[in-house]
């Protein structure tokens, strides 16, 4: 088979993994030899028409697999064409793409062939060859196989910046039904093992750094690194009946338990050659987006899971408006908020004010009393915040917050926004897009 054909098959098979992050690892570069650098910030080298960032060469070693997970295009009983890269082919493809500045590095995953140990051995060989033979300093993300020998996982962490294990589905019951060979308990155990190693390596490095300082830059080598960019996971949304409440609860638990850098949500999308056990159509992509927004509110805005979920109905988030706006619409009594007086926590709850903007407001109001034009200069969408804030020259019109049709007034629309009744001279709302893939 031609290399190009293999690449097409094995990239196509890898595209259902949402992660393409290349950020948050240690700083290193090639001035002392080798090829490549990582400087902390992830870089998206291209964007595909699906809006996703292409940062890494994301391929499978092989799409042959002995597992039969119903949601996966590569399951044993699927009719897709199979292909397999040699270790050398992936290594050279990565280097050639990297030299041309197409990519930040490699995200390598694989179907399970022969045994978990054999498969993991192959993945580790690719990483080892890149790092040791070619002095590759770019980013490496390895998907790890939960059942593989812990010694292999330990070696993987020496070369990889990030390791990941997918929990696949929020509910262990549906995992059992759709992926008979996978085991939710085993996946958690593997994540626990990774977190322990990551924590230990970090502590050991911190200690050896202290000793080195004490020895005035002596010769003692730093402790070995282990996956400096941490671990992440992915959950498929919409392939089973789990509610958003369940999904957020599981993701909060995963963050807290295993210190995940990121829990990715991947809207189930129809795959060619689908299994009969799955829903025939995709859930709306916006559900995935709302989950990310909710996740952000939980992690950076001081919301609790209960509050976020209460913005919607029946354990599902409101698809029409973002979760912060949904919460605000149900808690009108706490608004309007005075941008000149309210504390940071309260400002964070105002729809249309992001965390950075809030920090800027708090800093600037030491020397300034805010008018709406001042907010506009901070790139705040006045249309969005107007009903919920007061400023020196602005009080929401009498009864606006009590109006039954407030929701209709603030819900974003296509094309020209309906804004006349809220602001005499507002701004057209800009679509707000969270940076999902670039910076973790």
């Amino acid at each position: 088979m031609e290399l190009r054909e293999k690449l097409e098959i094995l990239a196509d098979a890898a595209k259902y993994d949402a992660s393409c992050a290349s950020s948050g690892t240690e700083k290193r570069d090639s001035r002392d030899g080798g090829l490549g650098s990582t400087e902390g910030m992830g870089i998206c080298h291209a964007y595909a028409p699906d809006g996703r960032c292409i940062s890494l060469l994301k391929v499978l070693l092989t799409n042959a697999c002995v597992f039969d997970c119903a949601y996966c295009i590569n399951r044993a009983s699927s009719n897709v064409r199979r292909a397999r890269f040699s270790v050398r082919e992936i290594v050279e493809l990565t280097l050639d793409f990297y030299r041309r500045n197409y990519i930040e590095g490699l995200f390598l995953s694989s179907g399970i062939i022969r045994s978990p140990d054999y498969t993991m051995e192959q993945l580790v060989r690719v990483a080892r060859e890149l790092r040791t033979t070619h002095g590759f300093k770019g980013y490496i993300h390895l998907k790890t196989i939960p059942d593989a020998d812990p010694a292999l996982l330990a070696e993987a962490g020496l070369y990889a910046d990030r390791l990941s294990i997918n929990v696949e589905l929020p509910d262990p019951g549906s995992l059992k039904a759709l992926a008979p060979e996978k085991d939710a308990g085993g996946i958690r155990l593997a994540m626990a093992g990774l977190r322990t190693r990551i924590d230990e390596a970090k502590a050991a490095r911190a200690e050896s750094a202290v000793t080195r300082v004490a020895m005035a830059g002596g010769r003692r080598a730093p402790a070995p690194r282990f996956a400096p960019a941490g671990q992440s996971t992915q959950m498929i949304v919409g392939a089973d009946a789990s509610t958003d409440a369940t999904i957020l609860d599981v993701s909060a638990n995963l963050y807290g338990s295993y210190r995940l850098k990121r829990v990715y949500f991947s809207a189930y999308s129809p795959i060619p050659d689908a299994a009969a056990a799955l829903p025939p159509a995709a859930p709306p992509l916006v559900r995935e987006h709302r989950l990310y927004q909710a996740d952000w509110l939980l992690r950076f805005y001081g919301f609790t899971a209960g509050e976020v979920i209460a913005g919607g109905e029946g354990g599902m988030l409101d698809l029409e408006v973002d979760p912060k706006l949904a919460w605000a619409l149900k808690h009108r009594a706490v608004f309007p908020v005075d941008v000149n007086r309210a504390d940071r926590e309260m400002l964070l709850r105002v729809p249309g004010l992001g965390a950075k903007t809030v920090d800027r407001i708090v800093a600037a109001r030491r020397v300034r009393s805010f008018r709406m034009a001042d907010l506009a200069r901070l790139r705040v969408s006045l249309r969005k915040v107007a009903p919920f804030v007061t400023a020196l020259d602005h009080h929401p019109r009498g009864g606006l917050l009590d109006r039954a049709d407030l929701r209709a007034l603030v819900v974003p629309r296509d094309g020209l926004a309906e804004r006349a009744s809220i602001l005499p001279a507002g701004l057209v709302a800009r679509p707000v897009q969270l940076p999902l893939f670039a910076h973790v």
Partner: protein, 566 residues
């Protein structure tokens, strides 16, 4: 009106020097015209500004200003240097000015810095190198002098003139003259399926930045591709690297860069295959990869086709619906570890007919321990919070120990490692045990509740005490464990363990240090849980309580040694 000339469009150092003097001389920003190579030329030249008085204090700036100013100085806006001068001027009186992001001048400077940063980030992302093979080795003839520098003037003649000349010779420009170089280039042959860089390769990119960023960003590429030879050509200026120093030369034209590369076919194939036609989001793509960059991105030429074909591909997928499973399946030659574990190694047939608590009496110790774990996992009425724990944490230690310690429940570290008493409280207990003169192999340690109960907060897991229902659920397992461990004496640590062993809620502080009997008549000895010692705020009471704890353990050991073995 005064005029101040700057040497280059991004001449930050020149601006700094001049603006310091201007502020010291008290010249108002409105009275200064900044003359920059490459920017529109003003109609009337002004005089040279006055020299500052010798005793004038140098201007002071907040810590964030130099970085902001450096970025703003690279912006394309002709008013950038005047804006910076204005800010520097105001900063002498308004020290907190930069904090006020809503100030119109600050907002403008921030917006310009943001644009420059974004441009730099996009340059790191969207530069595409093409590999060129060149005749190398020592130059056969002495190099001709560098070509005349057109627009804009470099701040200084390139320090590494020879490197520039070498790079330009690689590009075929010296012989052919600007713009005619492509013909002389030989694109790297595509013969090997994956071409590797030959030692005589140069990687050349054509890029059109929006702002004056190449000089500032060349370092990024030098660090990343330190072992390659590369050139980045832009309309204003070019950068060349030969392994030691970045050399800057004159601007170039698109035609000066090679027009193809052997790896581009593979890259475009990758771009087309990694795209998921079922989730078309062209706006998200264009927001991050604006169209103005597309003409220099080889993969972008496929975008219109991919988008046009996507709906059809999805419709076909959906119309095909579910397909019959393939007849010839992938072959499995292994049983996953977990599947192996799920098969009880021993007594598989016995379990279904024998009551669980009778079974362990008849089993050897290790099997009894394994069976306890298995039976716990097999329960389908586990408390709901168990789903969030990693694993059950079972007891550890020898059979017939001198002491059997029963704690409350595993914590964060125990949950991760699957071993009891390995967290902070466990380490303290270990230390106290040693000080009390009890050998580690004389003690068996376990918990009343076998799973970690916690409240997740974004960052960490907060221990949550087990309630009466939890204690009741796990109690039969604990009693069974006590049954096969057969210690001489049980030591309960804390209220949960005391309740689990005695069967009712009792006050630890009142009972600690007394020898009690459980409902079945087995002796036990209550004391506090080591986590209580960790929570005490002041060091004095901490030390006192620790001593008391060690004393309790010693007392328990002494009592146990006097008891008949289990």
């Amino acid at each position: 009106m005064f005029s101040v000339p700057l040497a280059a469009p991004d001449d930050f150092e020149g601006w700094r020097e001049a603006s310091r003097a201007l502020v010291m001389a008290g010249v108002a920003p409105e009275a200064v015209e900044w003359l920059v190579e490459g920017d529109p030329v003003p109609l009337f030249g002004g005089a040279a500004p006055p020299a500052p008085p010798p005793d004038a204090p140098p201007p002071r700036v907040p810590r964030d200003f130099p970085e902001l100013a450096r970025l703003v100085a690279r912006h394309r806006d002709p008013a950038r240097f005047a804006l910076l001068h204005g800010l520097l001027h105001r900063l002498q009186r308004e020290r907190g000015l930069l904090e006020d992001a809503a100030d119109p001048m600050v907002a403008r400077a921030n917006a310009m810095a943001r644009a420059v940063r974004r441009d730099a980030h996009k340059m790191h992302a969207f530069v595409r190198f093409r590999e060129v093979r060149v005749e190398d080795g020592a130059p056969a003839a002495p190099l001709p002098p560098p070509p005349p520098v057109a627009v804009p003037a470099d701040p200084a003649p390139p320090r590494n003139a020879r490197a520039v000349a070498l790079a330009l010779r690689d590009l075929g420009r010296l012989e052919e003259g600007p713009g005619a170089g492509t013909a002389a280039l030989e694109a790297a042959p595509g013969a090997p399926p994956v071409p590797s860089p030959a030692p005589d390769s140069r990687f050349v990119a054509w890029f059109e930045p929006e702002h004056h960023i190449l000089r500032a960003e060349a370092g990024f590429f030098a660090r990343r591709f330190a072992m390659l030879r590369w050139s980045i050509l832009t309309p204003e200026i070019s950068a060349h690297w030969d392994g030691t120093e970045v050399a800057f030369g004159p601007g170039a034209r698109r035609a000066d860069a090679p027009s193809e590369d052997a790896a581009e076919g593979l890259w475009r194939a990758y771009f087309a295959s990694i795209f998921n036609p079922a989730r078309l989001k062209p706006d998200a793509m264009r927001a991050e990869m604006p169209k103005k960059y597309w003409r220099n991105l080889p993969e972008a030429q496929d975008i219109p086709r991919l988008m046009a074909e996507a709906p059809k591909r999805v419709a076909e997928m959906v119309a095909r619906g579910a397909t019959a499973p393939a007849g010839r399946r992938q072959r499995a030659v292994h049983v996953p570890a977990l599947a192996r574990d799920a098969q009880p190694a021993a007594a598989a047939g016995v379990e279904s007919v024998m009551p669980a608590d009778l079974l362990s009496e008849t089993l050897p110790f290790p099997e009894a321990q394994a069976a306890l774990r298995r039976d716990l996992l097999a329960r389908n009425d586990l408390p709901p919070w168990v789903a969030n724990a990693t694993q059950p944490v079972m007891g550890e230690g020898p059979q017939h120990p001198l002491l059997m310690f029963i704690g409350e429940q595993p914590g964060d570290e125990e949950d991760l490692k699957g071993q009891p008493f390995v967290g902070p409280a466990g380490r303290l207990w270990n230390k106290a045990l040693e000080e009390a003169g009890v050998a580690r192999d004389e003690a068996y340690v376990t918990n009343a509740v076998k799973h970690f109960k916690f409240t997740p907060t974004g960052k960490r897991r907060l221990h949550q005490s087990p309630d009466a229902g939890d204690i009741t659920f796990y109690r039969p397992f604990l009693l069974r464990e006590i049954g096969f461990v057969q210690p001489r004496l049980i030591v309960t640590l804390g209220a949960t363990a005391l309740r689990a062993v005695s069967g009712r809620a009792m006050p630890v502080t009142k009972l600690r240090g007394s020898l009690l009997r459980d409902p079945e008549g087995r002796p036990f000895y209550p004391t506090v849980h080591p986590s209580y010692l960790l929570r005490l705020p002041d060091p004095a009471s901490k030390a006192r309580e620790y001593d008391r704890f060690v004393e309790d353990l010693g007392q328990a050991a002494a009592t146990a040694r006097g008891l008949p073995s289990g």
